[in-house]
């Protein structure tokens, strides 16, 4: 052994998001700065460093790692040990090493960074106006990667051979584009092209400028972005927006808009500092903002709503287009109703040909299609409504090792979750699982994540609803391979546990799970649930009383049926003596059938759904009797109650004990609303009073159970908590009652979060079972 007391060698392994974010150049420079020799390389699992030099330099190097790491990196673990010096003379970046079974974290796609943006608009830069400019700080990642390690041959950029200039940047350890896998320029990289509705090339000097003028003329243009196609039109033109709606057969669903800059957004919407930061973040999601001025965009963009989904340009192509157009543009997912986002050029023309007049396409293939994320800032924190671009596939960090589990999710807004070590890899938003395309998208995305993270779990968790396609998928998997362990998980238990895991909470909480539909342990449709929930079990403490859901999903699409189900079940024939608009328009034959359904439960499962309660009140007030998009009736009810000043009072309700649980009776609540309606009280006041009542009801039930069981933490989950008015009021009421409020953050409170809860519950259920067997 050499005895050079001053000179030491170490091997270091760094885990986290450390690939595709300029990490090796950073290590190279840090090593140089500290006068160390050695090498750094990516493996399938980590970044591996061997460093040699004076002992104190090595320690300085180790100390500086975390504080000076590149902005897009995340260091989760640094392991190091002294080793035998190998006598390196310089510090080098060496080839990636692939290790079987090892995995690494993959960076999400990142919005164009400020340096690239400056170059994009700099006439002297060689990438001036080149729509695919990127560097180690920004650009596509998840959507182009096919396998690990994250190197160019493993991406859809493999087909583009770098020109000498790009190659030189790529090879230069001190360059911002050192090993930037999608690195390219106008000489060697992807190109944009404008084509018409039949796929014929439209000649133009500048396809982006040409697309911009078509948009200004009121045309609909489908743009191929980073994760798929977006349908764009002039958001200030009611005519253009209506044309898009007609062609997409979506009369009311709110559309997102892209606005050139924060200043323009601030004219349009109220903007808090956290909202500004979120909009301009590398994730650059669609943020739901309170509308300030209704006259700056067409009222048809978000009909009857007080919030607007807004985003900033997040790819160079968007930046160029927005600069050319100079108008807010509607940007909505390029898909047929309910299907996944279209990502392939040919498929786009086939499927969107009836919607878009022109297509702005490019030849960088999208391997993993990914939608835009949607977020809101409420209660001073970011809440993700749809977790996709910019966020996935960053894992949710768990406060425990979850082993390897697959959670298949539920039905609508679906995601899946794969766990490994202390990570939960939640997929990006997959969509509503009832068509073939979404099922295939689910399967492909699952295979991609399994490949990227080298996972093939033996434990599979799924929802108890027997007819969800994700449930069927889980059961079919088991059919193919008997060694799988399959676990059904109750929907609302999964909701609450997803909220706990999102917040790193491990001890049981009081859970309020309010949503539209979830299959209950008793075969009824649950949805207004108070649980005492831990990772491996739950107790149903209280719920809204059961009413029939006449016609199942039929009553969801026609909330007036739900209103009648409540009124007739709770108040009986008495309602016909009341002056209610809802009854006046009812046709005799329809009422006869509906009444029979309600009385005899013909195709009318029993439900305790909170979502349906909001729907029913909305219909009773005449706000929305039939819906065009999920949650519309409840959302428009929320809008009525938003910004209502003054004390509203509360509607009465009762809580009865029944078979060891509590049932919340709503007869008095509905009577109260009817009295107000008959007295001519405006809808806004009734809605506000109703929201206050539900918030008060939540805190009343939670407080009484908290006093019994001692739990002080209340987790709020389920799609109903996307209702910002309710979320704020519930948090206020609970805090006033001395309880701690736990809300979602990075994991959606809607069914997009279910898969995480399922995976965690399955892990704890299985490991507990194993313990019990010794």
């Amino acid at each position: 052994m050499k005895q050079d007391s001053g000179r030491k060698a170490v091997t270091i392994s760094i885990r986290g998001i450390v690939q595709g974010v300029g990490f090796r150049p950073f290590i190279y420079q840090l090593a140089k700065k500290n006068g160390l020799s050695g090498r750094v390389c990516n493996t399938s699992g980590d970044v591996k460093i061997e460093a040699e030099g004076p002992s104190e330099s090595i320690h300085r190097f180790l100390e500086d790692l975390r504080p000076s790491a590149p902005p897009r990196s995340q260091i989760h673990a640094v392991d190091w040990a002294y080793s035998e010096p190998s006598g390196y003379e310089t510090f080098q970046i060496s080839e990636s090493v692939r290790k079987e079974g090892e995995y690494q974290l993959i960076s999400p796609d990142i919005a164009t960074c400020s340096l690239c943006r400056a170059e994009l608009f700099d006439p002297k830069d060689r990438r001036y106006r080149y729509p695919f400019i990127n560097c180690t700080h920004c650009g596509p990642r998840l959507t182009i990667i096919e396998d690990i390690p994250y190197d160019r041959p493993m991406t859809t950029m493999a087909v583009f051979r770098m020109c000498p200039e790009c190659q030189a940047e790529y090879d230069d350890p001190l360059h911002r584009r050192f090993h930037a896998q999608p690195n390219c320029c106008a000489e060697c990289g992807p190109q944009v092209e404008l084509v018409d509705g039949e796929g014929r090339r439209v000649d133009s000097e500048d396809p982006i400028a040409a697309a911009a003028s078509l948009l200004r003329e009121g045309k609909i243009v489908a743009l191929k972005g980073i994760g798929g196609f977006l349908l764009a039109c002039d958001a200030t033109s009611t005519e253009a927006v209506r044309l898009l709606r007609t062609r997409k057969k979506r009369p009311f669903k709110p559309l997102a808009v892209m606005v050139p800059g924060l200043e323009e957004i601030e004219r349009l919407c109220h903007l808090s500092e956290p909202e500004k930061a979120l909009l301009a973040s590398p994730e650059a999601p669609i943020v739901l903002l309170k509308i300030r001025r209704q006259d700056l965009i067409s009222p048809d963009v978000a009909p009857h709503l007080k919030y607007l989904g807004v985003m900033l340009p997040y790819t160079p192509l968007h930046h160029l287009l927005m600069q050319e157009v100079g108008l807010p543009l509607v940007m909505t997912s390029g898909n047929l109703s309910e299907e996944p986002i279209v990502a392939d050029n040919r498929e786009a023309i086939e499927k969107l040909g009836g919607i878009a007049d022109y297509f702005l396409v490019h030849d960088r293939e999208i391997h993993g299609p990914c939608d835009d994320s949607v977020a809101m800032v409420e209660l001073d924190r970011t809440h993700l409504i749809r977790r996709a671009r910019g966020f996935a596939p960053d894992p949710v960090h768990l406060p425990f090792d979850a082993g390897e589990v697959l959670g298949c999710g539920a039905g609508y807004k679906n995601t899946f979750t794969l766990t490994r070590d202390r990570y939960a890899f939640m997929s990006h938003h997959v969509g509503d699982m009832d068509n073939l395309e979404t099922l295939l998208h689910f399967e492909r995305t699952l295979n991609l994540y399994k490949t990227l993270f080298r996972l093939n779990p033996r434990i599979v968790a799924y929802d108890k609803h027997p007819d969800y396609l994700a449930t069927r998928y889980a059961l079919q998997l088991a059919g193919r391979d008997g060694a799988l362990l399959r676990l059904p998980v109750q929907h609302h238990h999964a909701h609450i546990v997803s909220c706990m895991a999102d917040n790193g909470i491990t001890s049981p909480v009081l859970g309020v799970a309010f949503d539209g539909t979830g299959y209950g342990d008793d075969g009824a449709i649950w949805g207004g649930e108070f649980l005492l929930a831990g990772y491996d079990r739950f107790t149903r403490l209280a719920h809204f009383e059961y009413v029939p859901l006449p016609g199942g999903d039929g009553a969801v699409k026609k909330p007036y049926r739900m209103a009648l189900a409540y009124l007739y079940t709770l108040l009986g024939e008495e309602i016909f003596g009341r002056k209610l608009g809802l009854l006046e328009e009812l046709k005799t034959m329809e009422w006869d059938l509906l009444k029979a359904q309600i009385e005899r439960c013909i195709n009318a499962p029993m439900t305790s759904s909170a979502g349906r309660l909001f729907d029913a009140v909305s219909a009773l007030l005449g706000i929305k009797k039939e819906i065009d998009y999920e949650g519309q009736a409840a959302i428009e009810l929320e809008m009525e109650g938003t910004d209502v000043a003054g004390e509203e009072g509360l509607y009465p309700f009762r809580i009865d004990a029944l078979e060891g649980r509590e049932v919340i009776r709503l007869k008095e609540l509905f009577s109260g609303i009817i009295v107000d309606l008959e007295a001519g009280t405006p809808n806004s006041r009734i809605s506000a009073k109703f929201h206050h009542t539900i918030a008060h009801l939540i805190s009343t039930v939670c407080l009484s159970h908290s006093q019994k069981c001692g739990q002080k933490q209340v987790a709020l989950s389920g799609g109903v908590f996307q209702n910002r008015l309710l979320l704020r009021l519930a948090a206020d009421h609970l805090r006033e009652a001395g309880l701690e409020v736990i809300t979602h953050r990075r994991v959606p409170c809607n069914d997009g979060g279910i898969s995480l809860g399922q995976a965690v519950i399955a892990h704890f259920t299985v490991s507990k079972g194993t313990d019990a067997h010794g």
Binding site: S337, D434, G516, T517, G554, A555, L593, A604, G611
Partner: protein, 334 residues
């Protein structure tokens, strides 16, 4: 004669004999049955098809039929769906004590008429009477034998890629009509069950093409279940077009109002066929000349995509997966 069925009618004694002689034999008067041996004796040669089904239905009498007609049509249709020419049926009655004799006679007459229409004979039978509450009025079991013509090979396993999916007429009539009768709902316009024997239609189809691959009558579980069974057995995908599936306005309206999906509603006089595309037009034309196939139409095709799955193209252009249901139709929208 008694006006109600008594336990003694099933005792095997004198009253049983009288019931047999005065009611059953009088109705189904034919030499094979009249022998009154313990078994019917007959000779057949060729490939035989043999099936049985039990019929329990509420209410017993409904617009378009009753339990008697249903018990003949059901078994005749089961035989027909493998291409067999139905010949002989057995008829076994389990009657609840106190069941009105007049109703029994009505049911038997209607049973007879159905056999006459289908050209089959009841050649064996049995009657049991159970104490009040041990059965719901009357249950009927029929079994049937038929002869499969030479060269015919029809099976759920035989659907081939490229086959056309032919449906013999509008779906959902039976299920919705029965629902109305059972629950006392008044539909405007009123609906009638489509209960009918399909053997003549099938033999017309076989005459038009000796190459029909699969046949299925979409009874319980509706068209969706029938198609899923074929897709699964044949390991092929089936694609249908929502706008091509015929549904009467009245059925559609009730389904819409009550939240039923017509694809899952029962039929008793419809069939779905998988026919090679080259023969589809011939078969279709022939079907339309038959009263039970006058509404026949092509609703889709067998495809290589999504083997084992049934997918329905919606007017929006999306592809809805039409799965078999686990149980009742349940809400899914969150």
């Amino acid at each position: 004669m008694d006006d109600k069925i008594l336990l003694a009618h099933g005792s095997g004694g004198k009253m049983s004999h009288e019931l047999l002689k005065n009611t059953l034999l009088k109705t189904f008067n034919n030499p094979l049955l009249n022998n009154l041996d313990d078994s019917a004796l007959f000779s057949l040669s060729g490939r035989l098809a043999f099936t049985t089904d039990s019929y329990v239905v509420t209410p017993l009498f409904f617009k378009g039929g009753d339990i008697g007609k249903l018990s003949v049509c059901g078994t005749v249709n089961d035989l027909s769906m493998v291409g067999a020419r139905p010949l002989y049926l057995s008829l076994s009655l389990i009657i609840e004590e106190g069941f009105p004799m007049a109703d029994l006679e009505t049911i038997l007459v209607s049973t007879l008429k159905a056999t006459e229409e289908a050209g089959v004979k009841i050649v064996a039978g049995d009657t049991k009477v159970v104490p009040r509450g041990n059965a719901d009025q009357i249950f009927i079991n029929t079994a049937g034998v038929g002869l499969v013509p030479e060269g015919i090979n029809i099976s759920s396993r035989n659907a081939r890629i490229g086959d056309r999916v032919i449906l013999s007429g509008p779906i959902g009539d039976h299920g919705i009509a029965l629902l109305g009768e059972r629950e006392g709902l008044r539909f405007a316009p009123p609906l009638e069950s489509d209960c009918a024997p399909l053997n003549a239609l099938v033999s017309d189809m076989i005459e038009a093409s000796g190459n029909i691959h699969s046949l299925r009558d979409p009874t319980r579980g509706g068209l969706a279940s029938a198609l899923n069974e074929i897709a699964e057995s044949s390991r092929a995908g089936i694609r249908i077009y929502e706008e091509a599936v015929p549904i009467r306005d009245a059925v559609r309206a009730v389904c819409e109002l009550m939240g039923f999906d017509p694809l899952y509603v029962a039929n008793e006089g419809k069939l779905v066929a998988m026919v090679p595309s080259s023969d589809a037009d011939k078969v279709l034309a022939r079907m339309r000349r038959n009263r039970y196939g006058s509404g026949a139409t092509i609703i889709g095709e067998v495809v290589s995509d999504h083997p084992g799955r049934v997918v329905m193209k919606t007017p929006l252009g999306t592809s809805r997966i039409v799965d078999m249901l686990t149980g009742e139709l349940l809400p899914r929208i969150c």
